[in-house]
Each structure stands twice: as structure tokens, then as C-alpha cells.
């Protein structure tokens, strides 16, 4: 009797044990640092020795909103988002539809090919991009442009527009495969019968795509947009290697600036305040997009 009881208790306990590792790592590596950041965001601290902490209240936060570079990094985030996310979403939907098409031979190969950039080392990729966009006449793009009669080599990283363009191309190259997989998952979840029914009712391919495929992929699209928002503002390796935020901070992402203030200038308190504001902004953007996306039917947004 007793044995049975304890077995039952254990059985009830099992699921909690299985999810425990996640919660432990979440508490230790996410929540604890987060709370720690909140605390030191009210201080001025170079990160060396606890006795160096000087409590300054809200000063970091008020400073932050007068910090030109921080505001610039937010603007950069918005500009970059507008520049590449729509292209990324449209391209990934088209690719997903294409790669799910029944007539396509060797779709496994193409799926792998599209996804490979995402698992390539970002550092290596960014470095290769910096060679491609090199401002010298030996840069690959400048050589190609030279063939088409552009004699003066374009210096890619000395104008805001060109540097951002290079960065966007790198982002699209890197994330297209990932987003395509997400879109394909959304696409495959659509009931086949709907397409057949529509076809029997005489809908053409464009109608099927716009009236059935797209609306039913809404959740995948929304999820991609949210992930891209976070991805854009937290861009780090790409601008660090490709432009280091330049020229004139036009490609400075919020997280790159945060990293610089924290590890270059050792302003732990200030950068923590930045992290908190950044977190709240991302939360706001995410909720905004959920709202715009019309979450009326209570469907889960998730992987």
C-alpha cells in the first residue's frame, strides 16, 4: 500500500523533474543576472570589486535619454528593421511555398542549401562580407562594378546608406534560411483539404495563395516579425565585425553599444540601465506586434 503510494507520488513528481533543468538554468543564467542588472543599474560601477559600487539612483536612466549614441542606436534599429525585415518575410514566404511545392525535385538539397548560412559562423561570414564590400578597388563588388563601367571604387563603409545596405544584405543572407523553415512549418500545418476544396471551387493559384495560404500562415509570419524585431536590435556580431558601428554610429546596434559601454568603458551601471530600457522596449514592441497581429482567437504563438 505504502509502496504504491510512493510510486504514485513519484509518478506525479516525474514531469516536474523533467522540466527542472530548464528552470534551474533559467533561474541561474537568466533571471538572476537580470535581477542583478536591475540592481546595479542604479549605481555607477566599473565591475571591479563590490566596494567600488556607488549608488546614484535614477541618474543612469535620465542620462540614457540624453545619450545621442543610444538614441541613434534605437533609430538604427528601426531603420534597419524597415530595410530588411519586409524583404526577409516576403522572400521566406515565397521560398517556403516554392520548397514545399510537389513538383520540385531534390527539395531536400535546396532546403539544406537555404539553411546553411544560418549555421555558418557569423564571424567568418561577416569577415567575408567585409572583403566583398571592401572599399578598395580590389573589393569583389567594386571589381564587378568596374566591369560595368563604374571606374571610381565605391567606399561602402563611409556612407550610412551603403554601410546599412551591406549590413542588411548580410542579415538577409544569414536569416533567410531560418525564416524559410519557420514559414514552411506554418505552411505544412495548413490542412491540404482547404487547397483541394478551393481548387474544386475554381479558385486560381493566386487566389489560393492570398486567400488561404497567407491568412493561415499569419502566426508564422507574426512570429518571424517578433523574432526579427528582437534580432535587429540585438544584432551584435554582424555590425561588430562588418562596420564596428560606423560610420558615425549609423550601424551601431543597441546591444553593440551596450557591449561597448560595458566592456570597453567598464560602465556596468550605465550599461545595465541600457539593458533594462532595451528589455522594456522589446517587450513593448512585441506586445504591439501581437496586438496588431490580432490575437483574437487566443492561439498560441510559439515554436
Amino acid at each position: 500500500m505504502n509502496a504504491l503510494k510512493s510510486w504514485k507520488a513519484r509518478k506525479q513528481l516525474a514531469p516536474y523533474l523533467f522540466v527542472l533543468p530548464f528552470f534551474i538554468t533559467f533561474l541561474v543564467f537568466m533571471l538572476y543576472p537580470f535581477i542583478y542588472s536591475v540592481v546595479i543599474s542604479f549605481s555607477e560601477w566599473n565591475g571591479i570589486g563590490v566596494d567600488n559600487i556607488r549608488w546614484i539612483g535614477m541618474e543612469n536612466y535620465t542620462k540614457l535619454f540624453q545619450d545621442g549614441t543610444f538614441l541613434q542606436s534605437l533609430i538604427n534599429g528601426v531603420v534597419l528593421y524597415v530595410m530588411y525585415v519586409p524583404i526577409l518575410v516576403v522572400l521566406s514566404i515565397l521560398l517556403a511555398v516554392l520548397l514545399s511545392a510537389k513538383w520540385l525535385r531534390g527539395s531536400g538539397f535546396f532546403r539544406a542549401a537555404v539553411y546553411i548560412p544560418n549555421i555558418t559562423s557569423t564571424v567568418a561570414a561577416a569577415y567575408v562580407f567585409s572583403l566583398i564590400f571592401s572599399s578598395s578597388e580590389n573589393g569583389i563588388i567594386n571589381i564587378v562594378l568596374g566591369v560595368f563601367g563604374v571606374s571610381e571604387p565605391v567606399s561602402w563603409f563611409s556612407s550610412a546608406a551603403m554601410a546599412r545596405l551591406a549590413l542588411c544584405l548580410l542579415m538577409i543572407w544569414r536569416w533567410l534560411g531560418y525564416d524559410t523553415i519557420l514559414m514552411m512549418a506554418g505552411l505544412n500545418a495548413v490542412n491540404e483539404e482547404l487547397f483541394e476544396a478551393a481548387a474544386i471551387d475554381g479558385a486560381n493559384k493566386v487566389q489560393i495563395f492570398t486567400r488561404i495560404t497567407l491568412p493561415l500562415m499569419k502566426h508564422s509570419i507574426l512570429f518571424t516579425c517578433i523574432m526579427s524585431t528582437i534580432g535587429t536590435f540585438s544584432m551584435f556580431t554582424e555590425p561588430k565585425i562588418l562596420t564596428d558601428g560606423g560610420p558615425l554610429n549609423y550601424t551601431m546596434s543597441t546591444v553593440l553599444y551596450l557591449y561597448n559601454t560595458n566592456f570597453k568603458f567598464l560602465r556596468m551601471g550605465y550599461s545595465s540601465a541600457m539593458a533594462i530600457i532595451y528589455f522594456l522596449l522589446m517587450l513593448l514592441f512585441t506586445l504591439l506586434q501581437l496586438k496588431i497581429g490580432g490575437e483574437k482567437k487566443e492561439r498560441r504563438v510559439g515554436r
Binding site: I226, M268, E298
Partner: protein, 458 residues
């Protein structure tokens, strides 16, 4: 009710996503609790001095961080060191100069993996000293103080205590290419070229001539990634700096304005090669005769002969820097690099023995100079006849004595690069980009930069 729970869980999911987003990108600052504060640095230093008098030979393994250049100079006088201290070994880590600051700061703030020894730009010594992680070497360095370059010493001192040991000075001159000067129909003899390039105005005029006749640039300077070291060199040549000795910002000075205007003037006269330094195109420019001259520190000779353009050996000569006005100072010095010992080292005796050998020993310093043009801050070496020897890379010119003269022509100056150096560097780069790329007026760019520095200064 149910709806509310669902909403809450959705919210939790979103927060979790955001948090993991931050974490994965290294966004949230490392919040690991730092090591207990290091024991008073002074204690350890007295240990150093106590040991000095004894006969025990220091031994042990030391972790040493430096860029490749410093390791090459170190190797040049390694045999003498091994004879004197056979039991000291090194675990050397090669770290490029532009990553060294970040790596050190990370190590200091986490308390993990701090090297025992390091050589790094003297620019950053005040910044590093401020962290409180450098060993106080005041007692050990005192006997040598009179013979070390004063301006370099100024950078390694805080409240009259010394925390690092200056290794090399970096007098600046013009390194020019005789082949290109000849092509342009100009004199190539150092004496005559020195007169030809006596002032910055003359430098620009000669630059125009050379551009017209040979197509080569008179120096390299990139608008895309402007070299703030060059700006600093010009500022120091006028005996001005971002802050005064008390650390008060003195950025908005006529000298700052003049310096930016000069760079702009050189750009507009089309005498600059717009190539970022230390990139392949830059190396190519030296090798393919696209650069007639380079305003450079003494160590540039070592880099050129060793890796930048060894094939052009014999074509280069050195003359003093152009002055701002006739008869003005024709040199500048950015103080090279320094050694420091970290206060967490377990073996301060061996660390000091190493520093003493490599930075304060005449024979060792001269060997290092010979190998990589690392010009000593230790002034006792300047009288050595080695300075008069012809140097093959510079066509047999005795460039070492040229640089020694330049170094000694610089009047003493009471400044400290300050713990805000990296901030100055970053902001100055932006300031120059504003002027060179955006066409912002010099005075406006300076005002904006001053404001930005003031806001971020600590």
C-alpha cells in the same frame, strides 16, 4: 479566469523569449560576482623589494599577454634573459593590440585569467591603473626614475605611486620613399628633404607636386576609419591634450581646431591616400609606390622592414616631422608602450625580474631596438655608439640617431592621457568622420564632440 491565465502564460513566454534573446547574444552584462577585492597592492610590492636584496633567483611560470610585435622584440634579447633567469618560463598569449584592452578589462572584471605580465600602449596605462589591478612597483622602480622619459613616467603614475614600467618611446618623423621623390624630380638627400618639408604648409605643397608627377599620395589617411592616433600626435606636437593634468577637459582649444583643419586641408589638396591603416590595400600602397611618405613613429620602421614592405628595403629615409610654423617643434611622441604586472600575480619576484631585464637593462633594450626599432624610454641607452650605425632598410642612413635627436628635442610636458583615453579615441574618430564624410564645420564638430565627451566622462 481561464483567459487571464492564458494571457499571463503568453506574457511569461514572451518575457522568457526576450530574456533568452538577450542571453544568447551576450546582451545582459556579465553579473557574476567579482572575486573578493585583491589585497592591498602595496604589501606585495614590499615583498618585491625584500627579495631584491637576497640571492634567491626568481623562478616559475608567468602568463604574459602582448601583441606579436612585443613578442618579437622580446625574443631578440631572450638568450641573455635565459642565462640570468634560467627558471623563469613564459606562457605567452598573442593578442592583437586592438583587442588587448577589451580582454584585459574582461579579465579584470571577472577576476579570471588575469595575466601576470603584459605590455600595452602607454595611451591606456591611466585607464588600466584606474582599475586598481596593477601592481604598485614604486619601490622597485625608484632607482631608475631619473633615467626614464618624464612624459612616459607621467602616464604610469597615480598619486605619486608607480604602477607600470615604460618600455619604449615613440618619437615621430617623416619616413619618405626616395624612389618616388626622385620620380617627382625632388631632392632625395635627408638634409635637403628636411628643409623641403620644414612646415605643414610646405608638406602639402610638396604633396601636390608628387601627386601631379607620380600619382602617389603624401600619406595615408582614411575618412572611413580615421586614425585618431595621428590626430593625437599632431595635438601633442603642439603641446596640447584633451585634458589638463587635473583631468579637466580642455578639448575645445585652438590647437584642436587647427589640427582638424590641417587634416581637412590635406584631404582637400588631394594628397591623402584614403586607405584604412593595417589592411591589405595599405600594405600594397607601401609596396606598389603609392605612398611617397608616412608620418610615423619610430617603431613603424620595424614594422616596415619586418612585415609591411621588406622588399622596398633601401628606398626609405627619415627626416623630422613638419613644424606648425617655421622653427617650431619638429617631433611628437605618443609614449609607445609599457610593461605592467598585475596585482593578482602569485610570483611578483619573477615578474619584476622580467620587467627589469626587458625594460631597464641597457644591453637588452639595445638588442630589442636593433631587432624591431623599439626605441627605449630608458635614456641611458641614447649615448651608445649603436645609435650611429647605418641602417640598411633606410639606405644606410643612421636613423636611430635621427630619432634620438627628435626624442630629445621634445620639451617636457606635464600631461596625463587620463582614464578616459578610450572615450577620447572613440569620440575623436566620430568627430573626424563628421568633418571628413559629412562635411560638418570643424568648430561645430568640436563642440558636439566636447559635449558628448563631457556627458560620458567619468
Amino acid at each position: 479566469m481561464n483567459k487571464q491565465v492564458k494571457n499571463l502564460s503568453a506574457m511569461a513566454l514572451v518575457i522568457g523569449l526576450l530574456l533568452s534573446g538577450c542571453g544568447a547574444n551576450g546582451g545582459t552584462p556579465a553579473a557574476s560576482a567579482p572575486e573578493p577585492a585583491p589585497s592591498e597592492a602595496g604589501e606585495k610590492d614590499s615583498a618585491v623589494s625584500a627579495v631584491e636584496g637576497q640571492e634567491a633567483v626568481p623562478s616559475g611560470e608567468l602568463v604574459y599577454w602582448a601583441q606579436e610585435y612585443c613578442q618579437k622584440t622580446m625574443k631578440a634579447s631572450m638568450d641573455g634573459f635565459e642565462k640570468q633567469y634560467p627558471d623563469i618560463t613564459f606562457k605567452t598569449e598573442t593578442i592583437p593590440n586592438n583587442e588587448l584592452l577589451n580582454k584585459l578589462m574582461l579579465a579584470f572584471s571577472s577576476g579570471e585569467g588575469i595575466p601576470d605580465l603584459c605590455t600595452f600602449s602607454t595611451w591606456y596605462m591611466p585607464t588600466l591603473i584606474e582599475t586598481g589591478q596593477l601592481l604598485d612597483v614604486t619601490e622597485s622602480i625608484t632607482p631608475y626614475l631619473n633615467d626614464i622619459n618624464k612624459m612616459s613616467l607621467q602616464q604610469v603614475k597615480k598619486d605619486d605611486r608607480y604602477f607600470a614600467i615604460p618600455l619604449d618611446a615613440s618619437p615621430v618623423g617623416i619616413i619618405y620613399n626616395t624612389t618616388i621623390f626622385e620620380q617627382a624630380g625632388l631632392d632625395t638627400e635627408p638634409d635637403k628633404v628636411s628643409d623641403l618639408l620644414a612646415t605643414w604648409d610646405q608638406y602639402i605643397e610638396v604633396g601636390k607636386q608628387i601627386r601631379e608627377k607620380t600619382g602617389a599620395g603624401m600619406m595615408s589617411f582614411s575618412g572611413e576609419s580615421p586614425d585618431s592616433n595621428f590626430f593625437n600626435t599632431l595635438l601633442l606636437q603642439q603641446r596640447a591634450w584633451f585634458n589638463d593634468i587635473e583631468g579637466k577637459l580642455t578639448f575645445n582649444l585652438p590647437e584642436t581646431q587647427k589640427t582638424l583643419e590641417l587634416i581637412l586641408k590635406m584631404r582637400d589638396a588631394n594628397i591623402l591616400e584614403d586607405i584604412p591603416a593595417w589592411t591589405q590595400p595599405w600594405y600594397d600602397a607601401f609596396n606598389q609606390h603609392k605612398l611617397a611618405a608616412y608620418i610615423g613613429e619610430v617603431w613603424m620602421g620595424g614594422f616596415m622592414a619586418d612585415s609591411v614592405c621588406p622588399e622596398t628595403s633601401g628606398e626609405w629615409r627619415v627626416v623630422p616631422m613638419p613644424a606648425w610654423e617655421e622653427g617650431g617643434l619638429r617631433s611628437s611622441d605618443s609614449c609607445g608602450s609599457s610593461w605592467f604586472i598585475s596585482s593578482t600575480t602569485k610570483n611578483p619576484e619573477a615578474a619584476w625580474a622580467t620587467v627589469e631585464y626587458y625594460a631597464l637593462n641597457e644591453e637588452s633594450l639595445l638588442k630589442q631596438y636593433k631587432a624591431m626599432d623599439q626605441f627605449p624610454t630608458y635614456e641611458k641607452t641614447y649615448t651608445d655608439k649603436f645609435f650611429e650605425e647605418p641602417v640598411e632598410f633606410f639606405g644606410g642612413q643612421a636613423v636611430r640617431s635621427v630619432f634620438a635627436e627628435l626624442e630629445q628635442s621634445i620639451p617636457a610636458m606635464d600631461i596625463n592621457f587620463s582614464k578616459n583615453f578610450e572615450l577620447y579615441r572613440t569620440q575623436m574618430q566620430l568627430c573626424m568622420q563628421k568633418v571628413l564624410l559629412n562635411g560638418t564645420a570643424v568648430s561645430q564638430a568640436i563642440e558636439e564632440t566636447e559635449k558628448e565627451i563631457l556627458a560620458q566622462m567619468q
